[in-house]
């Protein structure tokens, strides 16, 4: 319905979608652009190729800032922007209160800027995990809290939008793209609660001087609540794009709408109450609770397997529709020159590799081989920086022409950028995993452990440097394409915002796959079972607490 000729008015929700979508996504991508050179610096600093670059203070400030920007700012703002854009277009209704949405955006942005100052000054080099009793200066925590609080405004917007739509469309299936987006919003509310409790109950009282000490065991337990599920918060938009945008972009139809909903619901319920695989090596939780969390951790692999099947089947359908024949002939006929389709395929490849690594991390017995080694860092760069972020690029390439009414600056350059990101990510993360297996610890600025270890580690560091250069170039290509797309040739007809339909598109779906109330209660029950006693125990084990330390 949106027009480019003057005189015709586009609906309010389209204007809101453009403004809220673009503002949020640009903040996210700006954070990404700032973080990329830091990543390159870090690999260079450790490669032994640039002795002049070596500096502890800069290294740890960089690791922290890079982590905060990539893990909290890029993600949250991109997800909010993408969420607003697809919510408003799929439901064709306005946000319930534009002021509310912009207040949320402002709080999140202000928080980011407030935290940025100490981060860049090296006064908050506590890693993006900020585990006490090492403390950053107070503005870091205030800024981080504001970013979280601002994002909750978005969550409310998504949930309210879905409730309003269901009221005006009783019994109808909520559009799949919105169902996924809203369940992700609810997921984020549940997920962010852990770190929020840690900051509100433990960290801020210590920083303000209301208490003198802090229990790091409790802090790690609170943070584990957030730490696992946050990666699903990041992954959801990638899956939403695969289910709802990729089918049309690839020229096919979604293999199954219902199973996509099942996958979303399973991801929701199984991603939060499983945080203890991050605490397997910790002394403050008993083995039984760790074992309990293990069960759910393996269950959360199931919706990813379902997604893998559905997405590949969808691609196969599109390949066969375009003339592909035989067992593998359809692969050649996929629309490889479409950025969304290409990104989905590359994302799935990285998901497979990263997923295998994840199974080791989840393992009750094998985690000991890799905990806190570079395997973990390699794993999350592959699975997040690879699988999720490549889909963020693809979403931007899809959204920009629809928002700006202009051609994407260069589809060819976009395809090169995606391929370069894919190969760069593999070349960077494969040696990274190997370094972890060879015993290199995490979060070290230099490697003084002796010649024998350095001799086996060094070749991998050099390969990682080459991969990082590729990633840096790819990242800048992405930003250049987006910026240039604001000034490129106007399109005669702005592409429509339409979402994929399924081969068997359901008009109605089971209530449990159309509403979140039941799953919300199920989450409460599951969380009480998984985290209830493990948190309650801190009230009576009386662990003597630690004083705050600087870095």
């Amino acid at each position: 319905m949106s027009m480019t000729d003057t005189g015709a008015q586009s609906p309010t929700y389209e204007k809101q979608a453009k403004r809220l979508g673009l503002s949020n996504m640009w903040v996210g991508f700006a954070a990404f652009a700032a973080a990329i050179p830091m990543g390159l610096y870090q690999v260079a600093e450790r490669s032994n190729l640039f002795p002049a670059a070596e500096s502890r203070e800069i290294y740890y400030a960089s690791v922290t800032t890079h982590g905060v920007l990539m893990a909290y700012v890029l993600t949250t703002f991109f997800i909010m922007g993408f969420g607003y854009y697809v919510a408003l277009h799929s439901l064709k209704q306005n946000v319930w209160s534009p002021l509310f949405s912009w207040v949320g955006f402002s709080i999140a942005l202000a928080g980011t800027l407030i935290a940025a100052v100490p981060l860049l000054l090296g006064e908050a080099s506590v890693m993006y995990t900020f585990y006490p009793p090492e403390m950053a200066v107070t503005p870091f925590y205030i800024g981080a809290a504001m970013l979280f609080v601002g994002s909750w405004f978005w969550c409310v917007d998504m949930i309210v939008a879905m409730i309003q739509w269901r009221r005006t469309n009783p019994g109808m299936a909520v559009p799949l793209v919105m169902f996924g987006t809203t369940i992700n919003a609810l997921l984020w509310l549940w997920t962010s609660m852990g770190a929020t409790l840690e900051v509100l109950i433990q960290i801020l009282p210590l920083k303000f001087g209301w208490v003198d000490t802090i229990d790091p065991g409790l802090a790690r337990t609170f943070f584990s609540w957030t730490l696992h599920a946050i990666v699903y918060f990041w992954l959801f938009p990638a899956y939403i794009a695969m289910y709802s945008l990729m089918p049309r972009e690839s020229g096919g139809k979604l293999f199954s709408d219902e199973l996509a909903r099942v996958a979303f619901v399973m991801l929701f319920i199984f991603s939060v109450p499983i945080g203890f695989h991050h605490l397997y090596m910790d002394p403050q939780q008993a083995a039984g609770w760790k074992l309990l969390h293990m069960f759910g951790t393996f269950m959360v692999a199931v919706p990813t397997f379902i997604t893998g099947f559905t997405v590949l089947a969808t691609l196969e359908v599109s390949g066969r529709l375009r003339g592909g024949a035989g067992l593998f002939g359809w692969l050649a006929k996929i629309r490889w020159n479409n950025p969304m389709t290409l990104a989905a395929m590359l994302s799935m490849l990285m998901l497979t590799a990263g997923g295998f690594g994840g199974v080791i991390n989840a393992s009750y017995q094998m985690n000991a081989l890799i905990h806190n080694t570079q395997w973990v860092t390699g794993h999350f760069h592959l699975i997040f920086g690879g699988t999720s972020v490549i889909m963020y690029f693809a979403v931007a390439y899809w959204a920009w022409p629809r928002i700006t009414g202009r051609k994407l600056a260069s589809t060819r350059m976009a395809l090169w950028q995606l391929w370069l990101w894919f190969w760069g990510m593999l070349i960077t993360t494969m040696p990274w995993h190997v370094l972890g297996l060879l015993g290199q610890p995490r979060r070290v600025d230099t490697l003084p452990y002796g010649e024998a270890l350095n001799a086996i580690w060094n070749p991998h560091e050099v390969v990682m440097f080459a991969g990082s250069v590729m990633l840096t170039i790819s990242a800048f290509m992405f930003i250049i394409i987006l910026v240039r797309s604001h000034f490129s040739e106007r399109l005669a007809q702005t592409p429509e915002v339409v979402f994929g339909t399924a081969i068997h598109q359901p008009l109605r779906v089971p209530h449990l796959l159309n509403s979140l109330a039941f799953w919300n209660w199920a989450m409460l029950v599951y969380m009480l079972a998984s985290y209830g006693y493990p948190l309650l125990q801190f009230m009576f084990i009386n662990a003597p607490q630690a004083i705050p330390y600087g870095v």
Binding site: G217, V302, H371, H504, R508, I541, A543, P544
Partner: protein
């Protein structure tokens, strides 16, 4: 209303469910054999490790850290981790004999990790970390801190030396 699942996808889901059940079964089996991650839930007063007073007594005081045999003859390694070293810095143990390692942090979060092995502990102030294990191969094993503990984190490491059992003297 009809809930439609393609039969190929249904088969796939059964395979995935089978994989999950197998993964659960393997881990439960080995857990029943005694393979657990180190989980002690024992509290200690990190600020008073060097004294007799405080929760935990003087187990980690300077004269008591190191390698000893306890009442029933088990080797016990008692260590303290503090920025930026492990104390004692080197421990010597016999090949093939089980030992219990008990470590406490003096200040912030630390970790202990021996590369290319599964000896991997988080050290959280306020808690004692404990693991029982055996080393069967002779040699010098660097023992690294693997949890970010401050600017000197990369320099925090000690050494475990495994000598032949008949040469071992306590």
């Amino acid at each position: 209303m009809a809930f439609h699942i393609d039969k190929l996808e249904k088969r796939w889901i059964y395979m995935v469910a089978g994989f999950v059940l197998m993964a659960w079964a393997i881990q439960i089996y080995y857990a029943a054999q005694g393979w657990h991650p180190p989980s002690n839930v024992e509290v200690i007063d990190s600020a008073q490790l060097h004294l007799e007073t405080g929760v935990g007594g003087d187990e980690f005081s300077e004269q008591n850290i190191g390698v000893k045999r306890d009442a029933d003859g088990t080797l016990v390694v008692t260590m303290v981790a503090a920025r930026y070293g492990f104390y004692p810095q080197e421990i010597i143990l016999p090949q093939g004999e089980p030992f219990k390692m008990r470590v406490a942090s003096f200040d912030v979060l630390h970790g202990i990790y021996i590369p290319l092995t599964n000896l991997n502990l988080m050290l959280v102030p306020g808690y004692v970390s404990e693991v029982t294990t055996t080393v069967n191969i002779l040699g010098d094993y660097p023992m690294l801190c693997h949890d970010f503990c401050g600017m000197g984190h990369a320099y925090m490491f000690g050494n475990v030396k495994i000598v032949p059992a008949d040469e071992y003297k306590l």
